[in-house]
Amino acid sequence: MKKCFKFAHTFEIHLEKEQKNVIFGLGLIVLIASVPFLCNANLDSVSLHYYMQRIEELKIGLLNFRFFAILNPEWLTPADSSESLAYGNIFLLFPAILRLLGLPSIPSYHLFGIVWNMITAFIAYYCFRSIFKNKYIGLICSGFYTLSIFRIHRFVVLSAVGESCAYTFFPLILYGFFRAFTEDSGQKQYKTVWISIAIGIGGVMQTHFPSFEVTCFLIAAICLLNLRKVTDLPVFWELLKGFCGAVLAGAWSLFPVMRNYLAFSNGRIQSFGLYFAQLALHFWKFGENTAFSGQGMSHSTPCGVGLILVLGVFVFCFLWFGGALKGKGDRLFFWGKLSAVLGIAFMWMSLSAFPWDWIQDRKMISDRLISSLQSPTVFLGWGTFFLIMTFGFCLWYCAQNERKWEYYLLCVCFFIEITTSSMYLTDSIVQNMHQTEDYVQENCSFEMVKMDGTTALEEINASIFSRS
């Protein structure tokens, strides 16, 4: 018996109290984010059907030993054909493997969702903790990030898996740039800066090309604002390694996508923009209205950043306006201000008030680049990230300056956001879910149709039956 306990003790992991709290916190965040996946039902969104059939296509490809299957460009979606070429499939391999192992479609998709929530929460925690050098601030920011209204909208309401996956990698990119511009380039660990940049950019590129487009512009803007640092050789080298690493690793999907991405215009996007009120809504409910120019906010789809993050900007402006941030040399102050400015800028760009149509009319290239974004709300991904950075900065500032009451107040705001906004929305979503049968069954409500008229369902059934 004593030998058994001794054996067990060798595998004990000794954790500090803080670490235990963080793990518990992350677990709770993942659990709350995964509530919509803890049932045998799903929202009946167009994107869900699309991704389910992509997973099936991958599964068939794996059965035929085609590991890098790209969706057959002959498949059409109701929107337009470029959408089917805009994403790589690498992260859908996991649910495809689960399908291969015999799990039905919806449980595979849900398990993928839960695992992806874990990855998102962990990556966000790691990056924010490293930036602010505070575990609890990292945890809070991870909570904001994983349970953001934007992410819930994209991942759960729209089932826009590609965009949600891309969103996961944003913190890595910013973390890499933060390290590149703030760390001492003479240190040994500086040579690892490029890794997070490469993984981040590569991840975005492989999952959602419109997000990659926005990311490229953002990187250009950040580099311009830090031009003096960028022209420093060690810094430039790390950035170049990161970017090239991402492009080379993702070349297998990048070049086929690039061939068709800017081939034609998808039309104007300004009418799909939001009202400012939608950005600051707190008690979001499930809604299906996306025609804001005709129906206003009535029964609007839950797309925004949330009132608490907007309040974070208010708090930041209060500190900045009051001179609390004046003349401070710490680089984190620069990044705090930059995050606030970029957060506000991205929020503005997601609105219908931003003159997207006017910009599209300037030149053909701007028309293609902008129309490929499909909707101005794609900017809310980065917008949400920068607003969380701003909130994190406010937390960090209060912690550094021993403003205890303000710090606890902001923590309470985080708690309010999770319990009364994110959870309110997920509850509303769950209450609107329909029982959805497995996709290889006949009551699939939407079918992708090939050019010659055969349906995806027929093709998939044919391939399955031929293997049995």
Binding site: F283, M297, H299, S300, L311, F318, S352
Partner: protein, 761 residues
């Protein structure tokens, strides 16, 4: 101020340069962009014009047509494709008898293919379009100049504010108060941070008041306006006589600058929100002397569910305006009765609060005035011992007299007109209101939905004090009773005032419920009139809101005193945590309501005021007896002459008409003019004689004005609404009172070297 100019010379020079450039552009002549004649339209009942390009700016469409009585014609300006909402126009209907119409077209981005589109309804040949034109006006330039002015004012204000912070002149508490109140205004205005508006129950009526006042001012002939000419297809409606227009001048001025009716209305609502925050903060600061207490009280008031419900659900703009001034009345009364540190400047400040408060309420909403006056009389009676002290009776007397004289221009003509004629509201006999009161369950609502019904709890609207106010009352009562039962209980200096405010809050809340015997009171003589005019007891939530907010403000001071005597080591933390929880409930509840309202309410994009029509008189309370309250019965029509009377050269410009009459008959003949026969119309002749036409005592068909033309008379007559000599007397009295009060305050400041407390002259 001078220092600010010195420090920001370059910025100010740039601002002045831009404004000067904008102002110069405001005087550009209008330019004809497009015209299509009747021949070109081929007199089709429906069709589209040729396409034309429009640059960004504001245009005016002018249509001349002949529409038969049983026909109507809808005209709009639209555009093909183009950018998101580049052209904003709803179009409008020309009704039978109407010969001319114009409306604005707002173009935000260049459109290459805009066009007129029209469709008519009626028998063949009933519609004939003479020509339609599109002019580019300088409205766009005026709007731009105004926006620049507002932007620069805001920027300069923020710069001055920041300077004050950096120089240490503005404390952290004041900064926090400013930002918290700004956030409160943001939350309360939240549903309108869009490009559309919502149509509350009374929205249509108030939009027509704004448009009616604007049109009447443009037509000239009346100032101040008594009868607005725009209503009921040019027949006029005496809304300005019975419903104060003073603050409606704000959106009217915005309309005159050129903003669309919707934008003017929304900007006005924002002004109401900001004014409520500012005035309530000032009032509670004067009462409590504490920034924190004033901020809490002001937040309670700005985020009061009933106030937000009044603005969005009901669009009861009059009541919402009146609510701005209720804290001033409370503050004035409190300071007059609270004689601590009383001196002349204190008295003048308290009188000013009371006068401005009552003036504001009177000019906004009569029913709230009724409640405020009755409330003040009750206060005077309850504290009768204090009331008859020399200083207090003097202050009250001066305030009452100045208030009456200053507002003479409004209440005297209104009472005069009430005596001259009978109106629709006189016919309201039995108005059982008790069933319209709220239920007990509603008192405890934490998450108020937008709702849709005023009565009962099913899908109920948020007609309540609010959970935060309720928590404050409960906390106060519990802690107060607990202290009273303790041995050696000490006295909190704020006990008395808070007891009174809590009591008044609970009492006025009780008055708003269905449990108060309103139906019994409606049977009692004299009292019946007041009860009936209330319409619904939930109006008492206006005073409930202000009492609750004042109670919250004093609660902050009260709990601070209580905390000093608490033995617990974490007393400060408990109080802070408790106050934070209360504020959380306040904000949470308001945010929930604002969000639910935004997500559940249909949007309306109203760019073109003419699209609303002009018959939205609601119940038509101010229609004289004998005239119809059915808006559709009013049409554009020519004068109707009695057989034998000839008339010609009839022209109508608002309520100013001219007509040439000839009565060859041996007896008097009448002529009915297309305006409602309100008392106060006058006739001016081109050449006066012994036997002059006069306005008849009786009215014509559907209440039209009837003038009597003597036998054998012929000549040009000019008829317009002139009012009565008593109107002019009352206006002079108000003007003189205002001048005298202003001079007195100036004298006080100049010769006694003291800035009157709270009033900067």
């Amino acid at each position: 101020m001078l220092q600010f100019f010195r420090d920001h010379k370059i910025l100010l020079l740039i601002e002045i340069a831009i404004l000067s450039f904008c102002l110069l552009n405001c005087f550009k002549k209008e330019k004809l962009i497009f015209m299509q004649t009747g021949e070109e339209t081929e007199n089709q009942a429906a069709g589209e014009s040729q396409r034309f390009a429009l640059d960004p700016g504001v245009y005016q469409a002018r249509i001349h047509a002949a529409i038969a009585e049983d026909a109507d014609l809808f005209i709009n300006v639209e555009n093909d494709g183009s950018r998101y909402k580049a052209l904003r126009c709803n179009g409008a209907v020309m009704w039978g008898g109407q010969e001319y119409m114009d409306f604005e077209v707002y173009v935000l981005s260049r459109t290459d293919a805009s066009y007129f589109v029209w469709s008519g309804e009626g028998p063949e040949g009933a519609i004939s379009i003479d020509f339609m034109e599109l002019y580019r006006c300088n409205i766009g330039e005026r709007i731009f100049a105004f926006c620049c002015l507002m932007l620069f004012t805001a920027v300069n204000g923020l710069l001055a504010f920041r300077k004050g912070i950096l120089q240490g002149r503005i404390s952290k508490k004041s900064q926090a108060a400013f930002w918290l109140l700004a956030f409160g205004v943001f939350i309360s205005y939240f549903p309108y941070i869009t490009d559309y508006m919502t149509m509350g129950a009374d929205a249509y009526f108030h939009l027509l008041r704004i448009e009616g006042l604007k049109e009447t001012l443009l037509h000239g002939g009346q100032f101040p306006v008594r009868v607005q000419d725009y209503w009921l297809r040019g027949h006029g409606y005496a809304t300005s006589l019975f419903y104060g227009d003073l603050f409606i001048m704000i959106p009217t001025l915005l309309r005159l600058i050129g903003f669309s009716i919707m934008t003017s209305y929304k900007m006005f609502i924002l002004t109401i929100m900001i004014a409520t925050a500012g005035v309530s903060y000032y009032s509670f600061k004067k009462c409590t002397g504490d920034v924190g207490a004033a901020t809490v009280g002001s937040l309670f008031y700005v985020l009061a569910p009933y106030r937000i419900y009044d603005i969005f659900n009901r669009a009861a703009i009059g009541e919402a305006l009146a609510m701005i001034f209720l804290p001033l009345v409370l503050s004035g009364l409190y300071r007059i009765y609270h004689e601590k540190n009383a001196d002349l400047s204190h008295d003048i400040s308290a009188q000013a609060s009371l006068i401005i408060g009552i003036t504001g309420i009177l000019q906004s909403h009569l029913l709230t005035t009724e409640m405020a006056v009755v409330g003040m009389l009750c206060v005077c009676l309850i504290f009768y011992k204090k009331t008859f002290r020399k200083r207090i009776i003097k202050n009250l007397g001066i305030s009452a007299v100045i208030c009456l004289l200053l507002n003479c221009w409004f209440w005297l003509p209104m009472l005069w007109m009430m005596r001259q004629d009978r109106y629709k509201y006189n016919t309201y006999v039995d108005n059982r209101i008790q069933e319209m009161g709220t239920s007990l369950a509603g008192v405890f609502q934490l998450y108020p939905n937008r709702g849709g019904y005023q009565i009962e709890m099913f899908n109920c609207e948020p007609i309540q004090l609010g959970i935060a106010g309720l928590v404050v009352l409960i906390l106060f009562i519990v802690l107060r009773v607990k202290r009273k039962t303790e041995k050696d209980a000490w006295k909190n200096p704020y006990d008395r005032i808070l007891c009174w405010l809590a009591g008044l809050t609970i009492f006025s809340l009780f008055l708003s419920t269905r449990y108060f015997p309103w139906d019994f009171l409606a049977k009692l003589p004299v009292v019946r009139i007041g009860v009936t005019s209330l319409q619904f007891p939930t109006r008492f939530l206006s005073p409930t809101g202000v009492f609750g907010a004042a109670a919250a403000a004093f609660f902050v001071l009260w709990i601070r005193e209580e905390r000093r005597h608490w033995p617990a080591p974490y007393a400060k933390g408990i109080v802070k945590g408790g106050m934070f929880t209360i504020l959380l409930l306040l904000f949470g509840s308001a945010v929930y309501y604002a969000d639910d309202f935004a997500l559940e309410t249909a949007p309306y994009w109203i760019y073109t005021a003419e699209n609303m029509g002009s018959i939205g008189i609601m119940l038509g309370e101010y229609i004289p007896e004998g005239a119809s309250t059915e808006g559709m019965e009013y049409t554009y029509h020519a004068p109707v002459a009695e057989e034998g009377l000839e008339y010609s050269s009839f022209e109508k410009n608002g309520l100013q008409m001219k007509v040439y009459v000839n009565n060859p008959a041996a007896q008097e003949k009448y002529l009915e003019l297309p305006v409602i026969g309100y008392k106060g119309y006058g006739i001016r002749e081109e050449k006066s004689g012994t036997n002059s036409p006069y306005v008849a005592d009786t009215k014509g068909s559907h209440g039209d004005l009837k003038i009597i033309v003597p036998a054998g008379y012929q000549g040009m007559l000019y008829i317009s609404y002139m009012g009565f000599p008593v109107f002019r007397v009352s206006e002079v009295v108000s003007l003189l009172t205002g001048l005298m009060v202003g001079l007195y305050l100036l004298k006080w400041r100049v010769y006694y070297g003291k800035k009157v407390e709270g009033i900067t002259v």
